[in-house]
Amino acid sequence: MIDRTGTPLVELRDIRVAFGGVHAVQDVSVDLYPGEVVGLVGGNGAGKTTLIRTLSGAHPADSGQILIDGDPVTISHPRDAKALGVETIYQNLALADNIDAPGNVFLGRELTTRFGNLDDSAMEDATRKLMGRLNPKFQNFVVPVASLSGGQRQSVAIARAVHFNARILIMDEPTAALGPAETKQVGDLIKQLREEGIGIFLISHDIHDVYDLSDRISVMLQGKLVGTVDKTEVTTDEVLAMIILGKRPGEVTQKDLAELH
């Protein structure tokens, strides 16, 4: 079991984000402990990605607080998040298609020689070692990532996130574009990273994608948090009721559950 008596690794408190007059996220609070996987689920437009973008620095919150190790932090740019050990794997992977795999892994954090020149060999070497661990079948190190398959591109995005000793990992729909074998691979990787003590936010619109891997599940609906539940205490149907009806496990009736199927 996860020890949740200490200080959470991350705490998002009363986060609020609005686009124009639309409240994409309203007073949502979630937290994450070291070595824990929190599944963040909800339908399309529930505000999961928007919420998590405040943590990754892609879009600052209008109000609310972010605490890391109990200390309030300001994250106004992806650079700030990375400096705090927060790495993000975006749904669209955020790869520069015209650049090769090592170039993408080290994008914005290139290794350089003592003259400040790009050390391509060192970056390729590091990427080869990384891929040996993450996806041993990966061999395309010198072609632009545009010519790679969905799974290979995913590997590049994951490699980028884990190489820099992330403490907090955000994965937005990590398996949406993957086949079953690759999905299993990502699942194994998540378990491995969790055992290393990394805290992981796993975002998905489909509870079945994250149920197995999650320790706790936070459900969002229309920009609000429906609730956070311990996975051992709920069934997938109960979570489904939270996602679709916005009802917490105690509030759900048999009739509701019947309607879900």
Binding site: Y90, A96, I99, G103, L107, Y211, D212, D215, T236
Partner: protein, 437 residues
Amino acid sequence: MAETKVSAAEQEPEAAPEPEERGSRSLRDALRAAEVDARLLGLLGALAVIWIVFHIITPNHTFFTPRNIWNLSVQTAVVAIMATGMVLIIVTRNIDLSVGAVMAAVGMFMAVVQHDWLPAWIGFDHPLTWVIALAAGLAMGAAIGAFQGSIVAYVGVPSFIVTLGGFLVWRGVAWWMVSGQTLAPMDTLFRKLGGGSTGTVGGTWSWVLAIAACAGIVLLQFTRRRQRARYGFRLRPMWTEISIAVIACGALLLLVGFLNRYYLPPALATATGHEGENISLGLAYPVLIAIGVGIVMTFIATRRRFGRSVYAIGGNPDAAELAGIKTRRTIVKTFTLMGLLVGLAAAVQVARLNAAVSGLGTGMELNVIAAAVIGGTSLSGGIGTIVGALLGALVMQSLVSGMVLMGIEAPLQDIVVGIVLVLAVTLDTIFRRRAAR
């Protein structure tokens, strides 16, 4: 650890891993193994065809003569210098339409500095005049570039509009600086920047430079090989390494030997006390400047973090931003670099003409953009090489030069260059589409 529950995901059958595409890629893999750029070979091929065809069809076969190729090299230099900067601009999905007008403003400024200001301070033909004038021009070019780039990057006005404005503004500024006068002549040393019979390094130095360049090529190959070996990466087969070195050095030495057969006109040789001797002009300064710019820009584009950022922004601006790249600052830098190169090109152009007029560089922006695009730079961003742009400039100038030798009128020359531009991009698009499959 949380205990594992049986779930829907585990019930799904394990599918076979995605079949890897092979077969159709084998030829490209082979090319990749030799690390030879197919697009570059295509450009060199096109250039060879143009030179051979023109040599055959020009009256008296005057195209492939030392004299014409020497002139061609000098004529290409100005556009080539600017095209290297334009590549980086276009790679970031921007454009600079103002380079011709900026050239006029900067050229005029350098002329004013050496013609009107400096003589009053340090006298005529002072040995430092050319340095001060050049530095002033480079500074002004960089400042204009930084200014336009800042509006693009920080205010968010499309570069097309900002530089279209610049296209009008800087031409007007050039006129206004001297009320439309022509400034001439230029400082004696400054004039060397433009080539001409005094602006060359001579035959001996041309050989020295060529041999040094050969040594550089081999050294570069050797360092790269040792670097890859250190990490245990697959090395390029030795025969490829040797072939590349032999072909590159051989071509270089042949070209320099050929150019060195362009001699000082007999009358000038007599005037300089070498009556009856063949004095090689050797490589012209503008050509050396263009080659130097090409090397430095290639280095910046491929070996520096700035260059990597430029290509990342072109490939996926959002990804670049999310990766922590300072995208706006990078854009400003590309425009600043472009301005600096325009300043350098303006110096060469003013020195060549030995005069500054407000019409300097009219229409040049289109030649520069065309050179970059013929050289394989994609207007949709992310793709383009410095070497390609240099070759693109050479291809365009070769066409013009050949047509001039054939006595074809200017309007028809424009028609041909226009068609070649569209044809080159069409072929490139088809090539890319097939490669993407």
